[in-house]
Symmetry: C2
Subunit: 97 residues, 2 copies
């Protein structure tokens, strides 16, 4: 069962993400990152690759796209905040970008 | 060259869209619609089909997705408001949903 990120995980993996372009969302236990690409094809290609992984992980992003920009927000609805699933998906998205 | 929607087009095709789930965005010459699907696969499938058409049309939506919901906003940056391209893409999206 998924649980909220532990203090140790926040000091470790989460901190690592925060030093890699992710930031905490105001008033929510969630992280966000804006990805910029060359054009729409690159941006939507990234979203498509992420979508397949998100579905496999059964954990989905909140995301906004306009042309070559993709703004992603991650949080885990079931636990009301960040869980290890968000860390996993964030790392995967960084790798896919 | 793309131009802003004429008054006649606003009274015709735009009005038709507004009676079909689209609404004017506050403080912007733009239209928006929220599409709901059964699940993420259906929602992202819709986005993928729209993306191919948007790219072909060389006119792209602003859109937000979380799980099975897709919120679309359409406007034409180059003309600073609604153009026939938005009407075309909106109709296509309705057909694809």
């Amino acid at each position: 069962m998924t649980e909220k990120l532990s203090d140790a995980e926040r000091d470790g993996e989460l901190k690592e993400l925060l030093s890699n372009g992710w930031s905490m969302v105001e008033d929510r236990d969630a992280i966000a990152k804006t990805f910029e690409f060359k054009n729409f094809v690159e941006a939507f290609g990234f979203m498509s690759r992420c979508a397949l992984h998100a579905e496999k992980l059964d954990h989905h992003p909140e995301w906004f796209n306009v042309f070559k920009t993709v703004k992603v927000t991650l949080s885990t609805h079931d636990v009301g905040g960040l869980s290890p699933l968000d860390v996993k998906l964030a790392k995967k998205m960084d790798a896919l970008a």
